[in-house]
């Protein structure tokens, strides 16, 4: 397969995601929309009826989806056809107001969650009280002010520079080699020819901080040169275009378009970085052995500052158990997107001390191997893939969760205190539908939903049961399991006393009505009706059959419904 072909496959996949996104926008499925946007679909594209996702969401009145789309960069420009259409098509005044407030004339400050996080690594350094951000920085740029010889310093994360700029990668590689004999650890002195303001903009750009609107026109030329030097994709092109624009609306439209492209590029770069430098570059225990001669040690070209350990048991044919362990070279700066890791390094425990010690050791001993890096263990899981999915998510919001790993991801997300990832995993379970259920029972979904407090899964369970009520009431095994589940659901009531009905039963009854497109009032009306043809056509009869079946099952339970 040629590279072109690969791209086409990629595009095809994105097209499918886009259609799914349009569907989610019609139905108001915020979680799914979030997941799909994270795949990198063109949020401002249109479907074959010329409808943009934003237009669909506002037309169908899904305020939350509208908000999400806008936050993630959907354009609503009153001066353009698509934008105006959204505003006129908005179902409610409230949606219209949201759209107007997001009019494109506002500063382009839309970012993906991973982008926001990366920005904060540089931007929030001064408001970070625990010094954690600063601690993750491992390179310092030094500027000499030609006027007063004052030195100014800017610190940054090497891995990000490497991921985002091939030029920087070469530079850092160079300094590493020199560093073996050099005392200037981690400090790079920039030549005076480099304009500090321009360098700062490039750096901000690398950190995905929206800088496009704050570029001083006087710096355009310097900046174009510098971004060419740094091999910053597309930025020179944008600068050349915007340089000659005067109309502010035109300008901001251009900015939004390019900002979208820039985010896309960043995602691709991080994707490559994660795949090549972290996931494929994992270490095994032997790599870390202290006995290894210095020359055989692997170079830390990932600039990783923490190793994530994952191990799984390999059960051989005999009774003997073996363990396979992998160490992924990661970066604390990205890991602490999950609250768990953040807390781990905020408390003055072993982890923090170890990390700090390594930092100081690094600068004194000039060791750039992996041996001394602190290790974080994930709770033991069977699949390395799960760890890899989590790493992808943390680094660049990749939310592609194959159903096979969805439950593991769900549990891990709960452990890591990452609610968004949890929602993504749950959505993946629901999305995969039949395929998932052919491997797992619906009750497992229910219990895991309870376990991880994802209400969506409980509702999904009820819906599935309602759709297949006959199967669950008649099949013995299923029947037992359903009874068990209802009992458990009723036990949950005692925990939350303010609700005095069994949630699962209520939900199933609700989805039974929905199944036949009925409402509670309708049923009462039809009770008076005698015309069998009408009853048949309305679906009430089928509904009654289902309901009777379900009620029969409930009767067998010794609980008060």
């Amino acid at each position: 397969m040629t590279i072109m072909d690969a791209k086409d496959v990629d595009e095809l996949q994105l097209d499918r995601y886009f259609d799914e996104l349009c569907y989610a926008c019609r139905t108001g499925d915020v979680e799914n929309a979030d997941r799909l946007i994270s795949t990198g679909v063109k949020i401002n594209a249109v479907d074959r009826f010329d409808n943009s996702p934003l237009f669909l969401a506002s037309l169908c009145g899904h305020e939350n989806v509208v908000k999400l789309l806008l936050e993630r960069g959907a354009i609503c420009d009153r001066d353009r056809y698509e934008g105006a259409r959204c505003i006129y098509g908005a179902l409610t005044d409230s949606i219209r107001d949201i759209l107007l407030a997001f009019d494109v004339s506002k500063a382009v400050d839309v970012n993906q969650p991973f982008g926001t996080h990366i920005s904060s690594l540089l931007k929030d350094i001064d408001i970070d009280q625990d010094g954690l951000l600063k601690l993750t920085h491992d390179v310092i740029f030094q500027f000499t002010n030609s006027y007063n010889k004052d030195l100014t310093y800017i610190s940054a994360n090497k891995f990000l520079l490497v991921a985002r700029s091939s030029f920087m990668e070469k530079q850092l590689n160079g300094t590493d080699c020199e560093d073996d004999n050099n005392e200037n650890n981690g400090i790079i002195t920039l030549p005076e020819t480099i304009n500090q303001a321009c360098f700062e903009i490039i750096l901000k750009f690398i950190y995905l901080i929206p800088v496009l609107h704050e570029i001083n026109p006087n710096n355009f030329n310097d900046l174009i040169k510098l971004s060419n030097l740094f091999h910053i994709e597309l930025l020179p092109e944008f600068l050349m275009k915007v340089q000659h624009m005067t109309d502010p609306t035109e300008k901001s439209t251009l900015m939004t378009e390019y900002q979208y492209e820039f985010t896309k590029i960043a995602r691709r770069q991080l994707d490559l970085f994660v795949e090549n430098r972290i996931l494929r570059n994992y270490l095994v225990e032997d790599d870390l052995s202290e006995k290894l001669p210095k020359l055989k040690r692997r170079r830390n070209s990932t600039y990783s500052d923490v190793l994530v350990r994952a191990s799984r048991a390999i059960i051989n044919e005999g009774e003997e158990q073996n363990e396979e362990t992998r160490f992924y070279p990661c970066h604390l700066a990205m890991l602490f997107r999950a609250d768990y890791f953040k807390l781990m390094f905020l408390t003055p425990f072993q982890e923090r001390t170890g990390y700090e010690m390594n930092k100081t050791r690094k600068t004194s001993n000039n060791t750039y191997g992996f041996e001394s890096l602190p290790i974080i263990s994930f709770p033991k899981v069977c699949k390395f893939e799960v760890i890899e999915i989590i790493i992808r998510y943390l680094y660049y919001d990749n939310t592609t969760i194959p159903w096979e790993f969805a439950i593991d991801i769900l549990l891990m997300a709960d452990y890591l205190l990452s609610d968004r990832l949890k929602t993504m995993a749950a959505t993946s379970i629901i999305q995969s539908g039949e395929e998932f259920l052919s491997h797992y029972s619906i009750f497992e979904v229910l219990y895991i939903g309870w376990e991880t407090r994802v209400e969506k899964l409980e509702q999904y369970t009820a819906k599935v049961i309602a759709q297949n009520i006959e199967q669950y009431c008649n099949d013995d095994k299923n029947r037992l399991q359903l009874k068990d589940a209802i009992k458990k659901s009723s036990e949950r009531i005692s925990e939350r006393q303010e609700i005095d009905t069994i949630e699962l039963v209520d939900d199933i009854k609700y989805y039974l009505l929905e199944k036949y497109g009925l409402e509670a009032d309708d049923v009462e009306i039809f009770m008076e009706e005698n015309d069998p043809g009408l009853l048949e056509a309305s679906g009430v009869l089928a509904y009654q059959t289902d309901l009777d079946l379900f009620n029969e099952l409930l009767k067998g339970l010794e609980i008060d419904v």
Partner: protein
């Protein structure tokens, strides 16, 4: 590498609970960690391990056990930390040791609580939050409160108070204990008591406020010190307390203490001596003291107190001005009185100008509803209020005196160089106009005096115009319409006079004829009825009669619709006569002149002859002759025989031996048989010659009449839209409606109401006589 050797924990895979789950084992790990945290030895603790322990316990549905055990264990920890620390009550005289102990304990405990709660995050999230129970950290704080704060709350409060009070006693603003206080206060504000109130709100602040009040209440005894010393003490106490409070309290509590201080020190203590102090300040022109007094508190009531004191002082000072009755002339009394008032006014105006009474809501401001009052205007309001009060106390007299003052000033302008002086004086006096309560009296008197000045050309007409304009500026157009009318008449007359003189120079001869055509409604001569005028009809000397006829003809030609009447009593004649020794220009009333001119042709005449030739009534004639014969300064006639009374047999002739020091002589007409004792130079007709007694009563009458008309009008205007009002309400409305003109009194109101009822404008309610109806 210790990092490599770590316990390996499986997370459950789609199974609830773990088969080899051992709560105690995990709990032990946690208690070990808590011990280490308390020992400040956390470097070997693994967050990963602890978090996972909690995670597993929660997964195995032992959240409640964990929470309860934790509560128990932390309680133990808190209690033991309180006991094991060393502090004994005996060595702690003022409680400062205890405070620093508690403060340190708090800081240390908080550090531990934070770390414990960090480990317990999963419990917080999965157990505490959904079950709506206190998070681990808050629970720890609660335990700290239960086992440390509540049992020691009294000791703590006392220790705080005694250290604060000793700092107060030694007058230290920044106590060395400030940081400890501050930390204790922060602790109290962190720990919650009941509801949304903190420990600080519930247990400490009320205590502190009460004790602060007591402390300061007992600190100073006002009677033992001079008021000024008291003030100084209060100031410095307040200042240092404020600074001290800021070192350990938030602004909210500081301001609460400040208001306690204001209550105790300023309201209570200074309140007793505020009048003394204010008066003292004003007496000594001590602006700074006054300003200080005012700025002492932000309390509006207090500030109003100060203002009231200032006002009362000004009023008292004004009341000390005596209307000096001992002076010979009424005008002199008026001038001296007005002068002293103006002096006071200027004095206080300059004094108050330098004072900033802030933007407090004084009454006048509230009434205006105007928030942007210039502070100087405010001060001026204070001043005006008091002056107005004083002026209205002497009501009528004030109005008259001001008029006299102006009259005198304007009259002394024969010399043009004096005009600017007069202007200055009048200008200075103008501000009193609007402060007068009886403005209608002012207008009335002013009109009379103006008429006199105009008719007798006592003042420059330009100056009069200027002055009327000033009055207009202060009191409005309505007030001066008649005055304007008078001035207009004067200039019109001037033109006519010129025109007449040009056309009739033959008739005039050497007589300088000055016609003054007065519009009757503008001038203050009510009793010029036709009858009255007829009574004063006299036979004029032929020359004058000719002029009169010619002028009538002339006037008729010009304005044939108008009716011209001659007001002899108002006319003035000047005659030059060479007496034996000296030449004099005699100015006299028309009647007097008619008599005097008879002697041009006759050297001697009897009363009867005069009567026959002039047609003057006998009474009037007697009066005139008496003045001419007996008035010591203007005895231009002599009579035979010489006696004090006049009989019909007397023979009159010109007193050629008359002589006077001045060229001009005014021949006065006595008002009665007895010569005029006042001797004011008022050479006019009887009616107006004597403003002092006679005419004032008539003025009084006319004012009463005018007022009645105005009250009637006002009552009708007020009642008409309402239809029905109670008497009192109506009175208030009418009073406020008329307040720019005069002060309405009940008596006048009653008269007016009765008058209106009689004329069937109003009607009393049949059942309740205090209700009035308007009859349509």
């Amino acid at each position: 590498m210790s990092n490599l050797i770590r316990p390996k924990i499986r997370i459950p895979q789609r199974t609830l609970g773990q088969p080899n789950f051992n709560f105690n084992e995990l709990w032990e790990k946690i208690t070990y960690a808590i011990d280490k945290i308390y020992e400040r030895d956390t470097h070997d603790l693994s967050f990963e391990v602890l978090y996972q322990s909690v995670y597993i316990i929660v997964l195995n549905r032992k959240s409640k056990d964990l929470y309860d055990k934790l509560t128990e264990y932390i309680t133990l920890k808190i209690k033991s930390s309180f006991q094991c620390e060393e502090w004994s009550a005996s060595s702690d005289n003022d409680g400062s040791v205890f405070l620093s102990f508690i403060s340190n304990l708090w800081t240390e405990q908080c550090r531990c609580f934070k770390l414990v709660s960090d480990i317990m995050l999963y419990l917080d999230k999965i157990y505490c939050k959904p079950n709506r129970i206190l998070s681990v950290y808050d629970q720890c704080l609660e335990l700290f409160k239960l086992h440390i704060l509540i049992p020691n709350s009294d000791t703590l409060n006392r220790a705080m108070l005694s250290t604060i009070n000793s700092s107060r006693e030694s007058n230290t603003e920044v106590s060395p204990l400030a940081s400890i206080w501050s930390s204790i206060v922060a602790m109290m504000q962190t720990v919650m008591a009941e509801g949304k109130y903190t420990y600080f709100d519930t247990y400490f602040e009320p205590f502190l406020l009460k004790e602060t009040e007591e402390f300061y209440q007992n600190l100073i005894d006002v009677d033992q010190f001079s008021p000024l010393d008291c003030l100084e003490m209060v100031k410095s106490l307040k200042e240092s307390e404020y600074k001290r409070d800021l070192t350990f309290l938030d602004t909210d509590s500081t301001s609460k203490i400040t208001s306690v201080l204001e209550e105790v020190l300023i309201w209570d203590k200074i309140g007793k001596i505020i009048i003394v102090l204010t008066h003292q300040a004003l007496k000594n022109d001590d602006i700074h003291l006054l300003q200080e007094l005012f700025d002492l508190s932000l309390d509006t009531n207090y500030k109003n107190n100060v203002l009231t004191s200032v006002k009362s002082y000004i009023f008292e000072d004004l009341s000390a001005i005596h209307y000096n009755e001992s002076l010979r002339k009424k005008s002199l009394m008026a001038i001296s009185w007005v002068n002293s008032i103006l002096q006071k006014y200027d004095y206080y105006e300059t004094l108050l100008k330098t004072i900033d009474f802030g933007i407090t809501t004084t009454q006048s401001e509230e009434e205006n509803g105007n928030k942007d009052v210039d502070p100087h205007d405010l001060n001026k309001n204070i001043l005006d209020e008091q002056f107005s009060l004083y002026l209205s106390k002497s009501g009528k007299q004030s109005a008259e005196s001001v008029c006299f003052y102006i009259d005198t000033k304007l009259k002394s302008t024969s010399d043009r160089s004096k005009i600017s002086n007069a202007k200055k004086d009048v200008d200075n006096c103008v501000k009193l106009f609007k402060l007068l309560s009886e403005k209608d009296i002012f207008e009335n008197v002013y009109r009379q005096q103006l008429s006199r000045r105009l008719l007798h050309q006592k003042s420059s007409i330009e100056l009069e115009r200027w002055c009327v304009r000033k009055v207009k500026e202060e009191m409005g157009v309505f007030f001066t319409s008649k005055l304007d009318g008078m001035l207009r008449d004067m200039s019109k007359s001037m033109e006519l006079s010129k025109a007449f003189a040009a056309g009739y120079s033959d008739t005039l001869g050497d007589i300088n004829f000055v016609p003054q055509i007065l519009t009757i409604t503008s001038w203050p001569f009510q009793n010029f009825t036709d009858e009255e005028l007829a009574k004063n009809e006299v036979i004029l000397p032929s020359k004058l009669e000719q002029i009169k006829l010619d002028f009538e003809l002339f006037y008729q030609k010009k304005y044939n619709e108008r009716n011209l009447k001659w007001a002899n009593p108002l006319s003035l004649v000047e005659i030059g006569h060479q007496f034996n020794k000296t030449y004099h220009e005699l100015s006299m009333s028309m009647i007097t002149a008619v008599i005097f001119l008879l002697f041009e042709e006759h050297s001697q005449l009897t009363i009867e002859m005069i009567e026959e030739k002039t047609n003057i009534t006998r009474d009037e004639l007697l009066r005139q002759l008496l003045s001419m014969v007996l008035s010591p300064k203007s005895r231009i006639l002599s009579k035979k025989p010489m006696s004090k009374s006049i009989s019909s047999s007397d023979i009159f002739s010109i007193n050629e031996s008359f002589s006077a020091p001045t060229l001009k002589v005014k021949v006065l007409t006595a008002s009665a048989v007895v010569p005029n004792p006042t001797g004011t130079s008022t050479p006019m007709g009887t009616r107006i010659s004597d403003i002092s007694e006679d005419s004032m009563t008539s003025n009084g009458l006319s004012i009463k009449r005018e007022r009645l008309v105005q009250i009637n009008a006002s009552i009708v205007r007020m009642l008409k839209p309402e239809r029905t009002l109670t008497r009192n309400k109506l009175f208030e409305k009418v009073k406020s409606n008329l307040k720019d003109r005069f002060t309405l009194i009940q008596e006048d109101f009653t008269t007016s109401v009765n008058d209106l009822i009689e004329r069937e404008y109003l009607q009393r309610d049949i059942e309740d006589s205090s209700i009035l109806h308007y009859i349509t």
